[in-house]
């Protein structure tokens, strides 16, 4: 069965912005799918609202639509492009839901579009909890007892039968949004209401709790000839009750005997057939009773998922790629195994290594959020580590997590491990509740000689894993003892020391861990180890445990005997990736790394990628000439450098992660390509930067630094309040605060100090009501070209990553833009930037201030490139490789004749109890882009991409603080003129009426009912304009904003955003939104540039 020739063009739906539960893994799958389809000669039409992705690069698809991923907008694309088929399985839950809606509303039938990969029935059976349970019964498989309910009353009746604790799973949501574990009736009712709201079909499955059972997952693939293979088994260390995305997981499964595994395999094969995934992948989750081995089927996803991304990277079997090929008709045995290239894809990968995945959380950004881990996913990223043994992989995973731990080590303080005191009872109480710190608490318990059985009883973690961990603790003790014995005898003999270190390295201990145990510095430990000839070998991920020769250098390190990797040629460039995704450092940096790798390769270099993040395109083995799946620590990178002997290492594309390694690499004599670490330091170091700005005549906000609170108070007094305080060397505005008085300065100074101990806290004059702008530029040391100037829509004081922004600027004068460009050029040339640079400016009262200069790839590079079609990251790589901008044909600053808006996406719905107000600390997880011929329409598209819709009529509720009252009048008037009813609390209503804008008064929350929250709940408010009112009504505001979020009422919390929303609604009311592919927009830019030249 070769590929289908009756299909010509295929529509791919992307997953939209990165949110918790739906992350960068869908860039990996969408990109693989698009490439796989084009390889077969299909015309690929792609839609995704997320610009920070490789998949939305104009080269990846034939037609690339950065448009809202909603049924309404995708229909427009279908009407225009008339694809023959739609592949719905590559864009996560979003892709699946949109495809289902297009099916239900008859759009697919109307335009004759066929669903391939998974059909409507399969999606429905898998996604609808009731139908799924029925399907499982048909094939003799058990699911946890439960009932699907559509109302609170039904739910309460249902839980009577199944009992507490009860698991709630809303239908058709991703990452378990709105779900949870209820231990009593109160919790149950609250959770059920939330779940019913969260489910787009208003139904929730209430289930018998199987908390504490072992949890497993199988990844499968089926072709149209009914051949099924299991790609990978995954075992969760955290038992049932913790979302698999939040669990530490291991591949392959560690504690299943063959008999149990085959029962599971048989079940999975039956499930994919019964659900009816005709040609594609799926995953199935199982729970296993540790006492009896009873197996229950938990759920099945008829699409690629986060787990399939992990399984792909863990095995070398490219699930999205193969899934796409079978969707267009290929049989598995007609497709080659891309790693061995001699054997077929119809096989089951076997591993001769162990893979550990560890989630990364962002609770430090949401102090009010509950850090308890439940069935609703809360992590924002993950790291994957490969080792020859579980212990090795486990330790590599923790040091790759980049949370300041050199491996599986306890925190410096009890608080770091979320403990209030160090009593054994307290630790044992703490480990009952899963949190991100639980495994560190477990280590503390083991260090206190708590028996494994006790820990197993409290945590329900399988004793096998705990014994492994206990062996690590035991090894540390032995090492410490023997090292100090050696010391007291004048230092251990070389042979003894070698054996000592070797034994620890084989268990995955980092140099820093060993150095800490031995009481020496990391550098000293590294040099001793190397002098003893102890270096890791690199082994291949080859899908077949060495049974067949492999052609693909996909490598990991291990302290084992044989090394399979070798340096190749003298034109190797190593690109350091960005590690696990986190808030402030996400998929946009992976985009830059991938573009750079592709560009270096085009320029004739051999490219080697180093990264530890399985949810990425960069860790696809065919994106570079060599892939090292390794933690991004100095130790690990130095070993790769030692082996590869590269021309240079590239640190400027992967965000702060590689940048932090630059100095260390340089100190070991490793050449850094592009902008020198010295120049990077000159820009990052506050004192040096101030001198530089002064020398270049660029104005800065008044500023100073302080190491103590007294100093800080003095500096702030001199500068004048309000001031912005922040720690040195952080990304994403960690612990950044605007403080208005000495009291709050004292409150927040300590927090800022703790983030970067030993480094001064930076204190800046805060420019209230200023406009902010970002400039992205590229330089080759001789020349600097401006890639784009973006104006932030929110005022100064909101983190640039959280602010919407627009290109070109719309409220800054041309002179000011010209001034920024000029400053940028001067900075670039003065610093000797070779590669990318980002500068942030503020404009207040007509004056331009520079806020910061970052001589590296910025978060906005993909957005700018998608807007203009100029691939800045690729050009930067070429420049770093020695070419000049002139030779690359990039001489002019880029300009484009349309408008592009970027909007941020927040995880607030995942964190009950967290306020939605924006501030200087970044909290968004992703972004969307709207592109159109007017600001209003571009902003509208961006908003629709975030919220799904914008109201075209109805009521708007306005409640703003006194400062914002003058500004709100004009906005309210425009809404009134469009026919919206204006509702407001007393003060605002009176103010508006006095200025001729009719407004209905509504009671404040604390004044009585019905209040605005009631109106939101009952659907009487379509848009909320709220700015913080001050301390007294803080609680009111908070409740209001949370209510809007929960009931999906669009809201804005700044006046500038409100004005923009108003523009957007006017645009949407006056004409229907048009869709246009990037390829056409970029053609317009090229024509525009050519015209302005002529």
């Amino acid at each position: 069965m070769p590929k289908r020739t009756d299909l010509r063009s295929i529509l791919l739906i992307g997953s939209g912005p990165i949110v918790i539960g739906q992350g960068a893994e869908f860039d990996y799958s969408g990109t693989q799918a698009a490439r796989a389809l084009r390889e077969e000669g299909y015309r690929v039409i792609l839609v995704n609202s997320n610009p920070a992705t490789i998949m939305t690069d104009p080269e990846v698809a034939d037609r690339t639509y950065i448009e809202p991923v909603t049924a309404e907008w995708v229909e427009k694309i279908i009407a225009k492009e008339r694809p023959d088929a739609l592949l719905p399985t590559m864009g996560g839950q979003t892709g699946l839901n949109v495809a289902m809606e297009l099916y239900r509303t008859g759009v697919l039938e109307k335009y004759g579009v066929e669903l391939i990969g998974a059909n409507e029935r399969a999606i429905r059976v898998a996604e609808d909890r009731d139908e799924f349970a029925k399907a499982m019964r048909r094939i003799g498989l058990a699911t946890p007892e439960g009932t699907t309910v559509t109302s609170v009353e039904e739910g309460l009746a249902g839980v009577e039968r199944t009992g507490y604790p009860a698991i709630l799973r809303p239908s058709f949501t991703l990452g378990g949004t709105g779900g949870g574990i209820a231990y009593n009736r109160e919790e149950f009712e609250a959770m059920l209401r939330r779940g019913l709201e969260a489910s787009p079909v208003g139904s929730v499955l209430v289930e018998r709790s199987i908390i504490g059972w072992k949890e497993f997952e199988l990844e499968l693939m089926r072709d149209g000839a009914d051949n099924v293979v299991i790609v990978c088994s995954i075992e969760n260390i955290d038992p049932m009750g913790v979302h698999t995305g939040d669990s530490v997981t291991v591949a392959p499964a560690m504690t299943l005997s063959d008999r149990e595994y085959q029962v599971m395999r048989d079940a999975a094969c039956k499930i994919i057939r019964e659900v009816g995934v005709e040609a594609g992948g799926c995953n199935v989750q199982f729970a296993v009773d540790p006492e009896t081995g009873e197996q229950l089927v938990i759920e099945m996803n008829p699409r690629v998922s986060r787990s399939s991304a992990l399984a792909s990277k863990a095995t070398g079997f490219p699930i999205a790629r193969i899934g796409t090929k079978v969707a267009v008709g290929y049989r598995l045995d007609e497709l080659p195994n891309d790693i061995t290239r001699t054997t077929p894809a119809s096989f089951e990968p076997v591993l001769d290594y162990v893979v550990v995945k560890i989630p990364r959380f962002a609770f430090e950004k949401f102090p009010a959020a509950d850090p308890g881990l439940t069935t609703q996913m809360k992590s924002v990223g993950e790291v994957m580590a490969i080792g020859r043994t579980f212990k090795e992989a486990f330790q590599k995973g923790f040091r790759g997590l980049e949370i300041g731990r050199s491996g599986w080590v306890v925190g410096e303080t009890l608080a770091d491990d979320r403990l209030e005191d160090g009593a054994i009872e307290s630790i044992l109480a703490a480990i009952r509740k899963p949190t991100p710190e639980r495994l560190f608490q477990v280590k503390r318990a083991l260090l206190r000689d708590v028996p494994v059985e006790t820990i197993a009883d409290r945590t329900r973690i399988d004793p096998w894993f705990l014994h492994q961990l206990a062996e690590l603790v035991e090894a540390e003790r032995e090492f410490g003892r023997e090292w100090s014995t050696g010391r007291s005898n004048g230092g251990p003999a070389d042979g003894v020391e070698r054996a000592l270190i070797d034994r620890m390295k084989r268990m995955g201990f980092s140099d820093r861990q060993l150095a800490d145990l031995a009481g020496i510095t990391e550098t000293e430990m590294r040099h001793r180890r190397q002098a003893l000839g102890l270096r890791p070998g690199f082994k291949m991920v080859d899908t077949c445990a060495g049974e067949f020769p492999s052609k693909t250098p996909y490598l990991y390190s291990s302290y084992d005997e044989e090394n399979e990797a070798e340096a190749k040629g003298d034109k190797t460039v190593i690109i350091l990736g960005s590690g696990p995704n986190r808030i402030g450092q996400g998929v946009e940096f992976d985009y830059c790394c991938v573009r750079a790798a592709m560009a270096f390769r085009e320029a004739g270099f051999r490219t080697v990628m180093v990264n530890s993040n399985p949810e990425t395109v960069s860790t696809d083995f065919d994106m570079s000439d060599g892939l090292y799946f390794e933690p991004l620590t100095l130790e690990d990178v130095l070993e790769i450098v030692h082996l590869e002997k590269p021309l240079g290492v590239v640190v400027q594309f992967g965000g702060q992660t590689p940048l932090r390694l630059a100095r260390g690499l340089e100190a070991e004599g490793v050449p850094i390509l592009g902008t020198s670490p010295e120049a990077i330091d000159a820009a990052e170091d506050r004192g040096r930067f101030e001198l530089l700005a002064r020398e270049l005549g660029v104005e800065q906000p008044r500023n100073g630094t302080a190491l103590t609170l007294d100093d800080a108070l003095a500096v702030a007094t001199e500068i004048g309040y309000p001031v912005l305080i922040r720690p040195s060397y952080v990304l994403g505005g960690r612990a950044m605060q605007i403080v208005y008085d000495a009291e709050s300065l004292a409150e927040f100074f300590g927090a800022a100090m703790r983030v970067a101990p030993g480094h001064p806290v930076l204190i800046d004059q805060f420019l209230e009501d200023a406009f902010e702008a970002d400039v992205d530029a590229i330089a080759d040391g001789q020349r600097c070209v401006i890639g784009g100037v973006m104006q932030h829509i929110e005022d100064a004081g909101i983190h640039s990553g959280d602010s919407a922004c627009v290109m070109p600027p719309y409220l800054i004068t041309e002179d000011q833009v010209a001034e920024m460009k000029e400053h940028t050029r001067r900075f670039a040339l003065k610093l000797g930037v070779v590669g990318l640079m980002n500068v942030q400016y503020a404009v207040k009262n007509g004056r331009v201030y520079v806020l910061e200069v970052n001589p590296r790839a910025s978060r906005t590079i993909p957005f700018v490139s998608k807007t203009t079609g100029v691939p800045l990251a690729s050009l930067a790589a070429r420049v770093m490789g020695g070419e000049t901008l002139e030779s690359l044909g990039v001489a002019e600053d880029v300009a484009h004749p349309y408008v592009s808006v970027k909007e941020a996406v927040f995880p607030f719905s995942k964190f009950p109890g967290v306020d939605l107000l924006l501030g200087p600390e970044m909290r968004s997880t992703g972004e969307v882009m709207g592109i159109a011929d007017s600001f209003g329409m571009a902003f509208a598209k961006a908003q629709i991409s975030v919220d799904g819709s914008l109201p075209l009529g109805g009521s708007i509720f306005v409640t703003v603080n006194d400062t914002d009252k003058p500004a709100v009048v004009a906005i309210a008037r425009r809404f009134h003129e469009m026919g919206f009813r204006i509702k407001a609390t007393e003060g605002t209503a009176r103010y508006l009426r006095a200025r001729g804008v009719p407004a209905d008064r509504v009671l404040k929350v604390h004044e009585g009912r019905p209040n605005p929250v009631d109106l939101i709940v009952s659907g009487q408010i379509q848009l909320l304009l709220n700015t913080p009112l001050g301390k007294l009504t803080k609680r009111d505001d908070y409740i209001l904003r949370r209510a809007a979020l929960q009931h999906r009422v669009p809201y804005t919390t700044t006046m500038t955003a409100a004005a923009a929303a108003c523009d957007a609604i006017i645009a949407l009311r006056s004409r229907t939104g048009e869709v246009r592919p990037l390829q056409e927009w970029h053609e317009m830019t090229r024509a525009f540039m050519a015209e302005s030249k002529a």
């Binding site: 085959q262 045995d333 054997t343 043994t389 062996e471 077949c544 060495g546």
Partner: protein
């Protein structure tokens, strides 16, 4: 926690260091690797592994201990075990003991800490060869010499030692067809699967004469798996030719498959490093379907899809290994006779090929 130094020595002189926790050996055998991720207990008790030192490519072995249900014969059969890491502690609700304790009790040498991937890659490049597991920091010249004097797998009749010496099982009564199974080192799960399919099974020693078998009035003949070189089993081959050639419905697995090949004019060849694992894709040439199969063999029936079974014009190739194109299944063109090279009874491995037992039932008209 740390064992004493030990090593694996191969006949080409390469050796691999590791440690061992219990004193045993030196143990000699053919060094082979299996890529099974699970099922070490079934593997080690599979009589087909007699005379072999088994390298597990999966690095973590012993995690779920051992239990009474996963025995494929009454004791571990392997000559020795090589692993990357042997679990100190196990965890499983069925476990009755630890793997290391069980192997120690049976006197089977086990070496851990070995770079099993390096060893596997070496065997892949140079082929399976004789080897030994020895104690100490490294091999002595005496030991090297002794290794070279040890028997080689080719031409070795191990089956006669592996199977039962006395007939056992069904002697009459019951409803299902009566199958006489010739035991060359049969795995227990084969008997279980035949019984599950509805057969009455009598297991007989591998040198049982055709007369004695006919005297049991079989409805079908089953030829089991087993260790060693099929070419060395001339007596069995002629017995099979006589019985199957006379039209008795016959089903062979693994060694049984190879013997059937011989019986109808074909022959077997020694493969460079064999197939051992649970992930081998086999194409059913009649249905076009791909089965993921459990495998354990070092010899293969010579032939291909284009040439059929070399020397066996009455046989037809029905199954093919998709990795290397070797013959995985044959049937007779006119007689009710078929065989597969892989293990439909699994244990360990996937169950995709379970239907062969029903196929045998159908052949017997049951």
């Amino acid at each position: 926690m740390n064992g004493r130094p030990a090593f694996v020595l191969l006949e080409d002189g390469t050796w691999y260091s590791g440690t061992t926790t219990h004193e045993a050996g030196p143990a000699f055998g053919e060094v082979v690797f299996t890529t099974n991720l699970t099922g070490y207990q079934e593997t080690f008790t599979d009589p087909s592994y007699i005379g072999q030192i088994v390298v597990m490519t999966a690095p973590m072995i012993g995690n779920y201990g051992i239990n009474n249900g996963d025995m494929e014969s009454e004791r571990p059969q392997v000559a020795g075990v090589v692993v990357r890491e042997l679990a100190r502690k196990h965890s499983n609700w069925r476990a009755t003991g630890s793997l290391s304790g069980w192997l120690a009790e049976a006197g089977i040498p086990v070496i851990e800490g070995v770079d099993t991937r390096r060893l596997t890659r070496h065997i892949r490049e140079r082929g399976a060869m004789r080897g030994l597991i020895g104690a100490g920091a490294g091999p002595t010249p005496e030991l090297k010499a002794e290794l070279l004097r040890s028997p080689s797998m080719e031409g070795l009749d191990l089956a006669s030692k592996a199977g039962t010496r006395e007939p056992y099982g069904e002697t009459g009564g019951g409803k299902g067809p009566h199958v006489v199974a010739i035991d060359f080192g049969m795995k227990r799960n084969i008997v279980r699967m035949l019984a599950l399919a509805g057969c009455r099974v009598t297991v007989v020693p591998c040198d049982t004469t055709p007369e004695a078998i006919r005297a049991r009035k079989p409805d079908g003949l089953f030829l089991s798996n087993g260790p060693g070189d099929p070419g060395a089993l001339g007596y069995a081959i002629s017995n099979i030719r006589e019985l199957a050639g006379a039209g008795l419905p016959t089903f062979g697995i693994c060694l049984g498959h190879q013997l059937l090949g011989w019986a109808f004019g074909g022959h077997t060849v020694k493969m460079p490093y064999g197939h051992r694992g649970g992930n081998h894709p086999v194409k059913d040439l009649l249905s076009g379907r791909v089965l993921i199969t459990s495998q354990n063999h070092g010899f293969a029936v010579a032939g291909s899809t284009t040439d059929g079974v070399l020397g066996g014009p009455d046989l037809e190739v029905t199954h093919l290994n998709l990795n290397d194109g070797t013959v995985e299944g044959i049937r007779h063109k006119s007689l009710p006779v078929f065989a597969v090279q892989y293990h439909p009874e699994a244990a360990p491995g996937p169950h995709d090929a379970f239907p062969h037992f029903q196929q045998f039932m159908d052949l017997m008209g049951a």
